[in-house]
């Protein structure tokens, strides 16, 4: 990668931030007339998909996505501070999410980190424009948390691999052009991990089909992907045969935010705590404001303490002087702490609604069009996906606290 760009002066940064602020103010559409997904895992209808794809391209073209990725591959080539400022403006205007999460958040950093020049030229720009949607093929119907035991078969024949098996919980799987795929190339390897390889796999080819899965919310958003004698070029192998596990672990690091090459933006809408405080303030209990109830008041206060801590942790993570003792602790606990808090908090918010907690999306009597119910049910996508909270606890225990493995 080229030399690091210079750190901008405060004035340069302010000018860029003002421009971003003005752009998002002008261009952000918050209510397109249909419900916008809160996360990239909830994109259900063509309308939603088209809207978000267009939105990402628009943000990219304005220079507020991938601003700090290398220019030669389609990025802005600027210092990462610029992107941070742009993302802040995005948040401030409550802009919709970036759609291409697996591409920009996981595959992109991996390719930029370890890919060949040709791979960078081939893949990076298309994922920034959202022209090329990416998905992730890790979990299998029989192998979820035990990812290392994945069984999808990749057999080398000449300069091709032949794929057979199935992947599941593939967000955007029916829309994606590429999948980052974990497959077994060696069934005789000395342990389960060493038999795995990692592929940048094309989706729109013969032998690959998808079937939609209906989520607990009633929406669609992910699929099961079937591989039946699908043939891909041997060039799709990434990181060398037998290195699949370490590649997958690296993508999970990007996913957990432990090693960040920030493309910018966000793929999941952060919960706006003030919205919950507002909801609480507007709710009644026994004829009095809900926040006069000492139990609700105490719980809400504890959640405020939790939210503030996790928000500040994002800053503290960049301060090595406050990270000396267990340097992997904060980065590795982030997903666990944040996703569990959002689940608890959205569940808590249902209790504010009294009888109205009985309504759901689609009914005119539902509070905030059922936003809170949908948020609570969808929160499980994050406490289960990308490694369940239980697996996250093992990861923190083993990699940050030095406790022995469970197996």
């Amino acid at each position: 990668m080229a030399d690091k760009p210079d750190k901008p002066s405060a004035a340069e940064l302010k000018e860029f931030g003002d421009a971003a602020d003005a752009w998002f103010k002008e261009n952000t559409v918050r209510d397109p007339g249909f419900m916008l997904p809160l996360t990239f895992m909830e994109v259900s209808t063509d309308q939603q998909f088209d809207f978000l794809r267009d939105w990402q391209r628009k943000v990219y073209e304005a220079g507020f996505l991938g601003a700090s990725w290398p220019k030669e591959y389609g990025g802005g080539g600027m210092h990462s501070e610029y992107q941070r400022v742009a993302t802040r403006a995005m948040k401030k205007h409550d802009a919709p999410i970036m759609l291409n999460a697996i591409g920009n958040g996981w595959a992109g950093p991996l390719i930029l980190d370890l890919g060949s020049e040709e791979q960078k030229q081939t893949y990076i720009k298309g994922m920034l424009t959202a022209e090329d949607i990416w998905c992730q093929g890790f979990s299998e119907p029989e192998h979820g948390s035990d990812l290392g035991n994945a069984q999808l078969k990749a057999v080398k024949e000449g300069d091709e691999y032949v794929l057979n098996g199935s992947k599941i919980w593939t967000s955007l799987g029916d829309r994606a052009k590429y999948m980052i795929l974990l497959a077994r190339t060696d069934f005789e390897a000395e342990n389960k991990y060493k038999g795995l390889s990692f592929f940048l796999n094309p989706m729109k080819i013969d032998g690959i089909s998808t079937s939609r899965i209906k989520k607990l919310t009633g929406e669609y958003g992910f699929v099961q992907t079937f591989f039946s004698d699908a043939r891909i070029s041997a060039d799709c192998l990434f990181g060398g045969e037998g290195n699949g596990w370490s590649m997958a672990m690296k993508t999970l690091e990007y996913e957990r935010g432990a090693k960040v090459k920030p493309v910018g933006g966000y793929f999941v809408k952060e919960l706006d705590v003030m919205q919950i405080v507002e909801l609480a303030k507007n709710s009644m209990r026994n004829g009095k404001p809900l926040l006069d109830d000492p139990v609700m008041r105490d719980k809400m206060t504890q959640y405020m303490i939790d939210i503030q801590a996790l928000n500040l942790n994002n800053t503290r993570r960049r301060m090595p002087q406050l990270m000396q003792d267990k340097p992997m602790g904060l980065p590795l606990m982030n997903k666990l702490a944040r996703t569990e808090l959002i689940r608890e908090l959205t569940e808590f918010s249902l209790g504010f609604q009294g009888t109205k907690a009985g309504y759901y999306v689609g009914d005119e009597n539902a509070v905030d069009d059922g936003y809170w119910h949908r948020s609570y049910l969808n929160s499980f996508s994050a406490t289960i996906g990308g490694g369940t909270s239980e697996i996250q606890r093992n990861i923190v225990a083993e990699h940050a606290l030095g406790l022995p493995k469970t197996r």
């Binding site: 105490d298 809400m300 503030q308 942790n313 606290l401 469970t406």
Partner: protein
């Protein structure tokens, strides 16, 4: 919500963190902590002298009074390391008393005492009474003017390190108003102090009988500054004890981890069992949240509004995380955990004591709720 603060550090803070980490570890090994439990004084006078010589008592005192001229933010890493190593000394009470003097003391009172404190003289506060109320203005002790004397009466409780302190700053009611009285140790007979039996065996605390004690009538803080003095005491104490409890949480989690990594049952290291490792991770997460709040409170120190929210968040989270981590440490040590020899109980007791002094997590939250929602 614009009263939520940010996080940051100062160079001096990080330098002091490094020095304090080594000093407290070297000067307060566990066998020494244990030996001091049975010692009358309760701390090592040589270590106390060194603390004075290091200038740690002078950190948050202005240069005009022979201090270093930094702020409480720089005291935080020191208190944190003291808590981590269960290093008990009059450091906390003396620092707190200095801040009280800065908030409410007259120029003459500040000039008389702050340079002494900066040089290593121990001072303490007498605030609590039999009501057990954390509200510092809910007191019954009184001071009655008699010519140029003030005659005190009543009893003060939980006066830490009173036997070592050259000055006790006591809250009393004068003509119905809360005032802070400066009582020199020499004005108290030895019989006025009764050593209390307290839950934290590493600390020392006394009941002080004020009946019959007389002080000069002008040995009072300015009447107009009572409110800000109370606020300053609450927040300074909140910050100091949040720091100590945060360090203590870290220590008790590390102590638990050490056991989980070495103890074997069913032919396995017990730290491999998820029934033990998962709650330990949860406790660790709560500790890291407490530390984040602590350095946010240090960073926001002195900011109107934000300062109080940040300190109370830090105190609430530190107390709940320390209590929980120490409670689980006792349990996870099994039979040994039930013994006096297991260090987990030292931490569990200290968490109870610190919560009793400044208001526990639930109390901090009830104060916070008013700041956040009303």
């Amino acid at each position: 919500m614009d009263n939520l603060g940010n996080i940051g550090t100062t160079e001096e803070q990080i330098e002091l963190m490094d020095v304090a980490t080594n000093f407290c570890r070297d000067k307060s090994p566990m066998d020494k902590v244990r030996a001091l439990i049975d010692d009358d004084l309760g701390y090592d006078p040589d270590v106390w002298k060194e603390i004075g010589e290091l200038g740690w008592l002078a950190i948050a005192i202005p240069e005009a009074h022979d201090g270093v001229g930094l702020s409480m933010a720089e005291v935080v890493p020191i208190a944190e390391q003291m808590g981590r190593n269960l290093m008990s000394t009059p450091f906390g009470t003396t620092t707190l008393a200095a801040q009280a003097l800065l908030a409410g003391g007259s120029e003459a009172q500040q000039a008389a005492w702050l340079p002494k404190i900066a040089a290593g003289c121990a001072v303490t506060l007498a605030l609590s009474e039999d009501s057990g109320d954390w509200d510092l203005s809910n007191i019954a002790c009184t001071g009655k003017q008699d010519g140029d004397q003030l005659v005190l009466s009543g009893k003060k409780q939980l006066v830490r390190w009173a036997d070592s302190a050259e000055l006790i700053i006591a809250s009393v009611k004068v003509d119905g108003d809360v005032r802070f009285a400066l009582i020199e140790r020499s004005a108290l007979a030895d019989s006025a102090l009764r050593r209390e039996s307290i839950i934290d065996e590493t600390a020392r605390s006394f009941e002080v009988t004020l009946d019959g004690v007389t002080i000069p009538a002008d040995a009072l803080f300015d009447a107009s500054r009572t409110r800000e003095t109370i606020e300053k005491i609450e927040l300074t104490a909140g910050l100091i004890y949040a720091a100590e409890m945060c360090g203590g949480s870290q220590a008790v989690i590390d102590y638990t981890l050490e056991y989980l990594k070495t103890r074997k049952q069913f032919d396995k290291i017990i730290g491999s069992f998820q029934a033990l490792k998962h709650p330990t991770v949860d406790n660790y997460v709560e500790y890291e949240k407490a530390r984040t709040h602590l350095y946010s409170a240090a960073y926001s120190w002195g900011e109107q509004g934000r300062g109080e929210v940040a300190v109370r968040m830090a105190a609430a989270q530190a107390h709940s995380s320390y209590s929980r981590a120490a409670d689980r440490s006792i349990q996870f040590h099994g039979g040994f955990g039930f013994t006096h020899d297991c260090d987990a109980q030292l931490h569990r007791r200290k968490a109870i004591f610190d919560g009793a002094l400044i208001g526990d997590a639930a109390y901090q939250r009830s104060k916070l709720a008013g700041l956040l929602f009303d």
